[in-house]
Each structure stands twice: as C-alpha cells, then as structure tokens.
C-alpha cells in the first residue's frame, strides 16, 4: 500500500521548473506505484517515508513498553518469563532511540530544511534514498533476533560488556550488524544535511538568518558525524570480542569492562542531545508563531545550542559515577554536567520571554510546544539531581533514572515531534488537522504521560531498581498507576494516527501561510507544497527576520 503523502502536484509546476533551466527532474520517466517510493530521490517523499517508518516503529516500541508495563502491573511474575522481559526492555529502548525518535527528526529535516532555506532538494538526493532504505533493513534484522534461538538482545539498550559479549545470546552478532546499518544510515543522513545547509541556502541567506530548526539540525548533524563512528568502533570491538577472541572488554585477556562504558557513553551522551536539539529547533519555530512575536534572543539560542553540543563531549562519565571513578573525576563530571543547565536555562528563558506579552493562541502545535517547555524542564531538573555525584549513588539504576529520561524523551523529544507534525501538516497535505481530535489527543497524551512517568520518580527514590520483572510489595501502587497511565497513553496515540490519516484525506483547506504568525520561507510555497519547490532560488527577504 503506497501512502498518499505527499500529493503529486509536479505537473502543474513542471513548467516553471523547466523555465529554471533544470533538466535533472524527468517527470515523464517517473515510476508509478510502489516503485515510485522505492526509487524516489525527492526530499519531500523521502521525508514522508522517514516519518511513516518512524511512526510504525513508535508503535512497535510502544507495544514492547506495554508488555513491560503489563508485567509490572502487579508484583510477582504473571505474564512473561524474566528472560523475555529483559528482551522487551532492551528492544523498547533500542527501537525508540534508533528507529522512532532519530528517523522522525531526519524525516522532518528532509521535509523542512530545503523548504526553510529555499533549496530545491537535498544536496545528495540519491544518497538520501539509500540512507532511508537502510533503516527498514536494519530494523527488520534487529526485530528478527526476537525469533532466533536464545532470543534477542537482553542486556539493556546500553549493552554493557561483558553482559553483551561473554554472557550475551547468540543473536548478538545480528544485533551488532543491525546497529551498524542503522548507524551508517544516520551518518549518511547527517552528511546530506550538512552539505545541504552549508551549500544550498537561498542567495542572501546568511548562517545567522537560518531558522532555528535548521541551526539545531546542523549542530545535531555535526554531533552525529563525531559520535556515530565511535559507536561503530565500540560495536566492532564487541564483535571481535565475541567472534575473534580479542579482549577489548575482557579482563582475563587484559581488557577492561569499564573501558566499554567510557567508550559507550562518549557516544551515548552526545546521542541524547542528538535526540533533543532538533526538538529545541521545532519549539523555537512554533512558540513565536503562536505568540505572534519574533523569537526572543535568536543569537543566544544559536550559541546556547552550540554550547550544549560542545559540553556534551565533556560529561559522559556522569553515567558512571558508581564504577569507582576517582574523586577528581567525580567532581569534574559533576560540575561539567551542571554547567549544561546554563545554556539550557538560556533556552527556556528565551521561550518564556517570547511568550511574555505575546498574543497567544492555543492551536494543537502550540499546546504540544508549551507542554514541551514545562515537562522537558521537569526532566531537566531531575537530571540536575542525578548530576550530583554523591546523590547519584542513591539514584543510580533506579526508577528515578527511568522517570528522568522518559520526561526528556517522551514529553520532550516526542511531544516536539508531534508539535512539528501538527505545525507542518497543513504544508504537507494542504489541510488543517482536525482541531477537536488533535486537542483531544493532546489532553489524553498529557494526562497519560504524567500518570505513567511521574510515579516513577517516587518508586525510584524509594529504591525500586530498573530492569527487573518483579518488585517488592511497597512499590505496587506506584507501578499500578504507571501501568494504567502507559496503556492510556498508548491508546491515545491511535488518535494521532487518526488525525494524520484524516488530514491526508481532507479537511479544512489551508492557505500557503497556514498560521497567521508563521514567518519562515516554507510558508511562501503553496499548501500542499508541490513536489518541486524553489527550482529557482527565492529572494530572501531579511526584514521579517531575526536582526
């Protein structure tokens, strides 16, 4: 079934394209049906593919989470074996990080970056097609490990050695291969995004004129270039330890399991910012639009994003406070982690100041963006608590950590993605999303998310460890609440699918400038955006921009 997104309006616009002197878009030869999607090099179609893939994986990962929550509904073992429970927690994490959140941001980047900088397409369209189609391969392989003898990965998404080498199931080599393929996909996507942003901006658009979504993605792409090879290195070392008798992480042969954690978190901490920086960009586009004011402190937003990215390389060992770091290292990583609160605080301050005395309206994108600001900040504060090394000895590997990173990832990254989807759907489909249903989706999501994750703070502070299928009786009430919330949240996401499908099929017609306060270049092309846009570069008008 070929999705209907985006509609083919290419024929109406091909005459203007031809006038621009471009010959590389050969409309007559465009394949039809499923092949159109397999072979497409169009940034809008590839963007849609990324988003549809990500949404599918969001539900796959979500079902894994619901299996976990169903088992944790009551103390004791009732539904699944502990071995399968471990596979579910691991796969939930891996799928959500690498197959849901990251491809969703890449999809939004594909759709919006060329439109926001006035480029006709991504710089390397064929590479773009390849980097998308690597993803279904990688995650089919990863999911297939669940059916293999010995089961799928069961060592947590952080795959600490030697749990993931000496004690791992036989399918681990497939897990490594899947992660390699997904990593290559991310790297190629990042190269494409950097090449597009640096070389294909509309004439007259300087770097400091770019919308913040473009800026945050540029910085994210540099982070990807810097750390995805380190991940590739780590899993290659694992592969060699498992299959070729090396001892990178095996103490018996002179290796060191702690080295694994250093290498993993040297990748892993920038990785968590890879999952949040584009979210900052989306929120920085939506809040000014619905507050009908220019973004407060554009330049400081750019510098704060760059500062967060640079600091992310200096904080990795705060994930490892209890491995036995020397006091100096504990202090260094504690202070450097707390330092990140400064640029993040600048961002939150700027969003709040943009809202101040704004003429605010509460359409669905704005609701999600506002919820992002509040709930991401709560996640940031619990992060600050975890950054305190002596306190972390108590919090480490408890549900407090689970509460923390779900607050920054679900009402953080995922709410921002949904805000972005609601914001740009009129541009993609030409119709507004159903207002009533979208509002309902928002309010159900916000109740569900808080009901699921807020009690986890208390369970964690009371000492409930992560990644266990059974727990002591005193945690029963908190866990029952979390499980009810999780099923409620999961079910409300079906409304999101319904809104998107209805919006693709029809609804209230959207004009080119779908939101009154929206100012960036994407609102200058018709809604729905034709297949080919900006074949002749637009004239960039700086007057409504940030200086």
């Amino acid at each position: 079934m070929a999705p209907k997104l985006p509609p083919q309006h290419s024929l109406q616009h091909s005459s203007t394209a031809a006038a621009g002197g471009h010959s590389h878009h050969d409309h007559a030869a465009q394949p039809k049906g499923i092949l159109r999607w397999v072979l497409t090099t169009n940034h809008k179609e590839i963007g849609s593919l990324y988003l549809i893939f990500s949404l599918t994986m969001f539900f796959v990962g979500g079902i894994f989470a619901l299996v976990v929550r169903a088992e944790l509904f009551q103390p004791g073992l009732q539904l699944i074996e502990p071995e399968f429970f471990n596979q579910m927690t691991t796969m939930h994490g891996l799928i959500m990080v690498f197959a849901a959140v990251m491809p969703a941001f890449t999809g939004l980047a594909n759709w919006m970056i060329p439109l926001q900088i006035g480029a006709p397409d991504m710089a390397l369209p064929r590479l773009n097609n390849f980097s998308f189609w690597l993803l279904p391969v990688a995650f089919t392989l990863l999911l297939s490990t669940l059916l293999m003898p010995g089961g799928g990965p069961n060592f947590g998404w952080t795959f600490y050695a030697p749990l993931s080498t000496t004690y791992a199931p036989a399918s681990t080599t497939f897990f490594i291969l899947a992660l390699h393929i997904a990593g290559i996909s991310s790297i190629l996507g990042a190269i494409n995004i950097i090449a597009t942003i640096l070389n294909m901006r509309a004439p007259g658009m300087r770097m400091m004129d770019m919308p913040l979504f473009v800026w945050t993605w540029l910085i994210t792409a540099f982070l990807l270039i810097a750390v995805m090879p380190v991940l590739a290195g780590v899993i290659t070392m694992m592969l060699m330890d498992i299959n070729f008798g090396t001892s990178f992480f095996d103490a018996a042969g002179g290796g060191d399991p702690v080295l694994f954690q250093h290498l993993f978190w040297f990748f892993g901490h920038p990785e968590v910012y890879i999952m949040i920086l584009p979210a900052f960009g989306i929120v920085s586009a939506i809040i000014p639009t619905f507050a009908r004011k220019p973004l407060f402190g554009y330049a400081s937003m750019v510098y704060a994003t760059a500062a967060i990215a640079l600091l992310s390389f200096l904080v990795w060992a705060h994930h490892m406070f209890i491995v036995g770091l020397p006091l100096t290292a504990e202090l260094f990583f504690m202070y450097s982690t707390m330092l990140i609160a400064v640029p993040t605080g600048v961002k939150v301050f700027n969003w709040v100041t943009t809202l101040f005395r704004g003429s605010i309206s509460f359409e669905p994108p704005m609701l999600f963006a506002l919820a992002f600001v509040v709930l991401f900040t709560i996640g940031g504060f619990s992060g600050l608590m975890l950054a305190i090394a002596p306190a972390d000895f108590q919090y480490h590997d408890t549900y407090f950590v689970v509460a923390h990173f779900h607050y920054v990832l679900v009402p953080g990254a995922i709410f921002a993605i949904m805000a972005g989807v609601y914001y740009w759907l009129p541009k993609w489909t030409g119709y507004y999303p159903n207002e009533r249903l979208a509002q309902c989706h928002f309010w159900c999501s916000i109740v569900g998310v808080n009901l699921t994750f807020f009690p986890m703070h208390f369970a964690g502070l009371a000492g409930m460890p992560r990644r266990i299928p059974d727990y002591a009786l005193q945690f029963a009430d908190f866990n029952m609440l979390s499980s009810i919330g999780a099923f409620f949240f999961g079910a409300s996401q079906l409304m999101f699918v319904l809104v998107v499908v209805m919006c693709v099929r029809g609804g209230k017609k959207a004009p080119a400038k779908a939101w009154e306060g929206a100012e960036d270049l994407e609102w200058s092309v018709p809604s729905p955006a034709p297949l080919h846009t900006f074949e002749t570069p637009p004239v960039f008008n700086r007057t409504h921009h940030h200086d």
Partner: protein, 196 residues
C-alpha cells in the same frame, strides 16, 4: 544559473570530503582510545590498574607512626574450576615495611588448566604507592588436576602514601586463560561454566 550550480556542486563535494575525513578520523579515534586509556590509567594509577612488573624493594626507614590496614579479596570466575584463598583477610603494616602474605590456589577439577589472577587496587590513588616485589598476578598460573599451590605476595607500601589513606584493598579476580580452557572443555564439560 549554470555558474551557480557548479559553485554549489563544488561546495557540496568539498563538504562531503571533509565530513567523510572527519568520520574516518573519529572511527580511528575510537580505537586509539583503547591504548590511550591504558596509558592514561597506568600513568595516573586511576581505575586501580596495577603495573604488572616486579619492583625492587626500596630500603627506606619504616614509618612507625602510621598503621595501614591492607585487606585482601579473592574472587573466583565462572569457567575456571579453581578456588583461591588467602591466609589472612586483613593485615596491618607500616609504610616502608615489607610484608608477605600467602595465597593458595586449588584446582577442584581433575584436569590441568591455566588461569590468571587480575589485580585491582582500591582506592585508586594508592595504586602508584604500592610496590609489588613478587606477585602471582604477574603471570599466568598452571595447575595440574587436583593440585594445590601456595604462592606468596611480597609487597611494600611507599612512605609517601597520601595521609588520608588508612585502608587499602587488594582485589584478585581469577580468570580462565581461554585457548587452553577450550581444549579442556572437550574432556570435562561438567566443571566448566556455560560462559565459554
């Protein structure tokens, strides 16, 4: 228009070459971190990594004013049917004094095997002030079936041991030496853990 396109595609090519170079560099950097990490740990003594070469005793005046508690922890390993024990769990020494303690290795299986005790020191700031004159941890050990072997550890704490350290813990973890254990597992599956 055409001129702009060439400029643009040259720019794209340059960006791609640079990012790919950065990628290769970072991949190499990940592997370079492995030896760098070892060098960093042994220079600073962080992570409790001990220099596994014998040191000469330095004859210096024993600091009678301080007592340091030295604790010994021995740990077995899955995959090696050995037991490792120490004659005393804890002893008190003066900085500068040379001390000796006996460790006993027992092979509980009936076949010969090789193993290695990997040392670690806690707190790690004491690592560089610990001189091991003789230690079983310097090399691999071979035990015949049912053999029992007693090997002494001779060590000395340097006089410049930081003032705030009163207790030092030496941990020895046994690991099988793999290539030889694999041969054994053919003959004697029962005693070998399932981790091999």
């Amino acid at each position: 228009m055409a001129v702009n396109d060439t400029v643009q595609s040259l720019g794209v090519k340059r960006t791609v070459i640079r990012t790919v170079a950065a990628l290769i560099g970072m991949f190499a950097f990940a592997f370079a971190l492995v030896p760098l990490y070892d060098v960093f740990c042994s220079v600073t003594g962080l992570n409790g990594k001990v220099d596994t070469t014998a040191k000469a005793i330095i004859h210096e005046e024993v600091d009678q004013s301080r007592y340091i508690t030295v604790q010994f922890i021995t740990r077995g390993s899955a995959g090696l049917p050995w037991r490792m024990s120490v004659e005393t769990r804890q002893m008190r020494v003066h900085p500068g004094q040379t001390a000796e303690v006996d460790f006993t290795f027992t092979n509980n299986s009936h076949v010969e095997s090789w193993g290695r005790a990997v040392p670690s020191v806690s707190p790690s700031s004491a690592t560089t002030h610990l001189r091991k004159v003789s230690c079983f941890c310097f090399q691999e050990q071979q035990l015949q079936g049912d053999e029992r072997l007693t090997i002494p550890l001779i060590f000395q704490l340097a006089r410049d041991l930081p003032e705030d350290i009163n207790t030092i813990t030496l941990v020895y973890t046994l690991y099988p030496v793999h290539h030889l254990v694999k041969d054994i597992s053919k003959n004697d599956n029962k005693t070998i853990g399932d981790s091999i």
